[in-house]
Amino acid sequence: MSTGADLSTEAQLRARIAELEAELVEQAARAEAAVAAAQRRSYWPDLLQLDFEAIMRHPVLRFAVLVPLKVRGAGRRLRWYWQRARGG
């Protein structure tokens, strides 16, 4: 016959299991969302079968990717400084 202590222990264990399962679900949700997002981002490169690792290893092609990124980054910084200078 279960004692009060046994029932309490069982309830605690069940609660702990429920907590762990909830954590597992949260973890799964974040993982699936990340995979889905990665799949959305990689659609065009996959469709065109672009190998970005090979491109970045190429001595010339990597600049075709890096230069626009650098220019865009510089432009954003300039815009920020300009807005600050104008008191925005």
């Binding site: 399962e21 909830a22 597992l24 679900v25 799964a28 949700a29 799949q39 959305r40 996959d46």
Partner: protein, 703 residues
Amino acid sequence: MTVSVIVPVRDGARYLAELLDAARAQEPDEILVIDSGSRDGSVEIARAGGARVIEIDPQDFAHGRTRNFAAEQATGDVLAFLTQDATPAPGWLAAHLAALELDPRVGVSFGPHLPRPDTSPMIARELTEFFASFAPDGEPALQGPGDEPFLSNVNACYRRACWEEIRFRDVAYSEDQAFGRDALAAGWLKVYAPGAGVLHAHDYGPVEFARRYFDEYRGLRETTGHLEPVAPRESLSYVKVQVAGDRRWLAEQGVGGIDAARWTARSVVHHGGRRVFSALGSRADRLPPAVRGAISLEGRTDGAGGDHDAVAVEAPPEPTGRVIPPKHDAHPLDATLRVLRDGPAPLLPAAPETAERDRLRIAIVIPHFREGSGGHRTICTLVRGLEARGHVCSLWLHDPAGIHQAEADSVVRAHVDEWFGPVAAPVYKGFEHWHGADVVVATGWQTVHPALLLDQVRARAYLVQDHEPEFYATSADRLFAEDTYHRGFYVIAASPWLRDLVRSRYGADGTAFELGVDHEIYGMDPGVPRRDDTIVFYGRGATPRRATELGWLALSELRRRRDVRVVAYGDSAPNWEQPFPYEFLGVVAPTELASLYRRATAGLVLSLTNYSLIPQEMMACGLPVVDLRGGCSEAMFGENGPVELANADPVAIADALERLLDDQAEWDRRSAAGLSWAAERTWDAAVDAVEQGLRESLRVRAR
């Protein structure tokens, strides 16, 4: 190399002296004649011609056996066989020896049979064209495995080592053809030596030719299993072509006038008789012995009695086929095999609380798909609903046939989003990244066995959208599909009728949901005028359960009665077989379909199994529908409900369509009933039912 010329003889006096003179002129080391009971002085002619003669009992003669005996008695390194009516042409032996020396692997050479001056044009042309085909350039032609195995002991020369290894089969006929095949299969080479010609022609009269063909094709059947086909139309065509060839040959030889006409008639009889008696010879075993003996030129009756009696006929060689390399690492139904052999993966324990948890991890296994798949559209609609309720869903594509092999996971997922509506879930190709779930959901029979092999799972559910065994004729696929209902999945069926069917037929436990209608797309628009002459037909011929042939016949009958506009959609290509013009829309987007339904007069959607989304989408647009009486449609809609039911009979279906075209009151009644029906069918209600089914699958496990 020393050479023995060997000639089996029986009453060969006609050409024997000429043959021996021609052979002796080519200076072989030995000429050996094996005589089997000649009574025309052949033995004396042979001895006078300088040959060594060995006489044997006629009863002991057989083409293969006797030639083996002769080879054993001969002394030469090379065995040059001739028949008693084959006269070597100048240069014959030298050409054979040169052929044997082309390669140490050459085991045998054969040369052309040249027509004698008095040979008929049919035989002369045939001989010339036949042997010319072995060496179009006129040079010796090496033949190996896979090449034409033709060989004829009328004129053939053997390396002794090759004969010792292969030997002639002990058969009554075609021992040379069999040797040719056996030698090539054993790795020997064969050479056609154009310069090693002999004068030879069996120029019999038409009747004798026919009997000769009978014997030849009987021999071929016995040694190679060849069965000459009985093909009257092709035979006629063959005779025409051959006679035309013979006439051309006659013209080239300068033969014209009455002679050409006479030979033309002989040609028709010759070639026609050949077709008939070669087919008969292939089937000689079916003829009474007396008939066989009467037709056979050699008087062979086979079996007990006859001149060549009790011959051991070897079975035809074992057929070998083309080796087909493997295309896949595993059979497309490998999961089925593994489940049957090893059983399913064990399930994790499921506590009662698991079923009541707010959020469940749900893994849905889907089969391969293409645009327009209604089943996948339903799955994705349900997934969106489950995601809206907070559940964590993932889609797992089971594609053993490699339909999506060339597509990355991201591309597959993009197609799912584009064709079946966006889902938040990722799409995984295969199970390489499998990470477990609370519930794994199989969605088609092909996905059940793979789902059974997935571990780290607490419960299994089976989304049954149709009774799939009925998609197949009696077949292995049907057996495998039926097996899936016995695998302990909790069934979530797409209608109460379907749930009751799987329960009563297979004892499978489960629940049901009803398909919803996307009311944002399918609905009435009072401002849109409706036509009174348009039938919309869901004619997806690629799906047999749609009974499209029945629908087309009904429309054909309706068109016979009156002029109606027929608009067909659902298939990727039009049906070109209809006797009336119609409009073909192909695979259509939902918004276009809704627009079509609002303007049409009646819809024709036939289903021989579970009902589909289409009738209720039509009804939601106020379009009355005709479907088949009996089965799911009658169970779902009732006899006097929103759908006009007709027997599976094109006339009855045409009658039902005509009622909707002519009877406005009936049209109004069905349209109103359909709108009312569709209004109660929502995807929210469907998702609720499916969610409850998934939770129940966990509760059942926890009990």
